[in-house]
């Protein structure tokens, strides 16, 4: 089933619906708002001794860092039990392959700044947090993937003069302080306006304090979908963001497991379902999953 082009009022209900309709004997009987994944039984047996995957499978617990403020990607409302979005879906798929149920996943909010420290200190086992793959980051943490490719775009008030990245010169454009998006819009001659969260940016845009907001198109679509009468995403993408899954360099063996697991999900349609249940709701077509990088030979 596809939610393509469906309108946003249905979004919240849709999330539940997606989980319920696709239910088919999900182990553990979780009622969480997520796509259905098959939790492996006796998963520990399939991993070699000494690997991090074996440890996690034996413990039956995993801690995953995701964002809580990006609708469609990683979002958790104050009243929600668990985060929703494409990133948590990827986390569920990976956890399931270790035989770990939804309720045994510990979600931890990560912000852009603490993704590396969390991995390095072992506070989380995985970071799945709109975490663009870059060479600098790969020097200190592992990044497997990409599992999704998006690009920077612009969110404006309906009817704005700004139609694309060429129109931002001299305009105030908002994004999250310190983010690559803000830096790139600054390079295009815009006045960079950094705030702590994307929702603050949206508010600045709505009250006219800034002329546009910018970040990965996927995130912007989420906001546009929430307020289609006032906001729209304009222009082509002007960067390529390749979302990867962060893991600690202490456990390089995790890379191949992540790639293999995601590949299987892509092949058997689980990835499509995950996308449709999350980002797909903002009205975009489900894309072909991207080609993943080869893991570094360790």
């Amino acid at each position: 089933m596809r939610f393509t082009r469906s309108r946003t009022l249905l979004a919240a209900a849709g999330l539940t619906l997606a989980g319920a309709l696709s239910a088919c004997g999900n182990a553990g009987g979780s009622d969480s708002e997520s796509t259905d994944v098959n939790v492996e039984e006796n998963a520990a047996d399939s991993f070699e001794d000494g690997t991090r995957m074996k440890e996690l499978a034996q413990d039956g617990k995993i801690t995953i860092g995701v964002k809580y403020d990006q609708p469609g990607i990683g979002f958790k409302g104050a009243a929600d039990d668990a985060p929703t979005g494409l990133d948590p879906e990827m986390g569920r798929i990976l956890a399931a392959s270790l035989g770990i149920d939804d309720q045994d996943i510990t979600w931890k909010e990560t912000i852009s700044d603490n993704r590396e420290p969390f991995l390095q200190k072992g506070e989380v086992d995985l970071v799945i947090a709109s975490y663009s793959i870059t060479d600098e980051r790969r020097q200190i943490v592992g990044q497997a993937g990409p599992y999704y490719v998006t690009g920077q775009q612009l969110l404006v008030k309906k009817g704005s003069d700004i139609k694309g990245p060429d129109d931002v010169k001299g305009k105030s454009v908002c994004s999250v302080t310190g983010s690559t998006s803000l830096e790139q819009i600054e390079a295009k001659g815009a006045k960079a306006r950094g705030f702590d969260t994307y929702s603050e940016c949206r508010d600045q845009l709505l009250d006219g304090s800034v002329d546009a907001a910018t970040t990965d198109g996927a995130i912007l679509l989420g906001y546009a979908a929430e307020d289609p009468d006032n906001l729209e995403v304009v222009g082509p993408t002007f960067s390529e963001e390749r979302y990867g899954i962060g893991y600690s360099k202490d456990s390089p063996e995790m890379c191949q497991w992540i790639v293999d697991t995601l590949k299987k999900a892509e092949d058997d349609g689980t990835w499509d379902k995950a996308f449709e249940a999350t980002l797909g709701k903002s009205g975009v077509d489900t894309p072909t999953p991207p080609e993943m990088d080869a893991c570094p030979s360790s």
Partner: protein
């Protein structure tokens, strides 16, 4: 240190904005703070009450909340839109002037009553008495606490990092985001920048303090 070689212009510009915010907000905070202090110790009960209320509100509100108020709540009312810099200065001034007021007031209280009486006896008006006799002496007594308030202000400018102003702390976050491998170094470089600015301020305050002490 590639990041610094490529980006030192950005680093300097960011610290320049930090200093601009600190200096402009500092000047306005001093002006407003001294006026508030004069109102608090002055003979007009309504003004004294208003100033006391102002201090109560802004001294006890976290700076972050003042920023949220200025950046999120103010734009919703129909007043002319301020620039981001002006809003940053406004938020910092609203907050800091309350502390300036209290520092100056403590200074005023340390000036013996006889000084004001002598000034009034000579025929100075209340304003002249404050301006010529009480405040100059009060400022001397208030200099150490004032220096602390202004130093705190300089560091408090970093709150603006989360409100659209790319000052030093915001710029640091760009660099740490891009160069995850050398975060500690980046942090140290920016911390040293703040330390240098604050040390210069302390040295200035110390020099003034010494010069004024001789004059007594």
């Amino acid at each position: 240190m590639d990041w610094l070689a490529d980006g030192y212009g950005l680093v300097l510009r960011a610290f320049l904005l930090t200093i601009e915010l600190g200096v402009v907000a500092g000047v306005f905070s001093m002006l407003l703070g001294v006026l508030l202090a004069a109102a608090r110790v002055g003979p007009v009960a309504v003004l004294a009450k208003a100033a006391a209320t102002y201090v109560l509100v802004f001294r006890n509100t976290p700076l972050l909340m003042v920023f949220v108020f200025v950046f999120v709540a103010l734009p919703k009312v129909d007043i002319p839109q301020l620039s981001f810099f002006a809003k940053g200065v406004l938020a910092l001034t609203l907050y800091t002037s309350a502390f300036v007021c209290e520092a100056v007031r403590s200074g005023v209280n340390s000036v013996p009553l006889g000084q004001a009486e002598a000034a009034r006896a000579v025929g100075l008006t209340f304003g002249q008495t404050m301006q010529e006799v009480v405040l100059p002496q009060a400022m001397r007594a208030a200099l150490p606490p004032l220096a602390s308030v202004l130093i705190a202000l300089m560091k408090n400018t970093s709150v603006a990092a989360a409100f659209g102003l790319i000052e030093a702390t915001a710029r640091m976050r760009f660099f740490t985001n891009d160069n995850a491998d050398v975060r500690t170094v980046i942090f140290l470089v920016f911390a040293i920048g703040y330390v240098v600015i604050v040390e210069l301020m302390s040295a200035g305050a110390f020099t003034l303090e010494r010069r004024w002490r001789v004059a007594r």
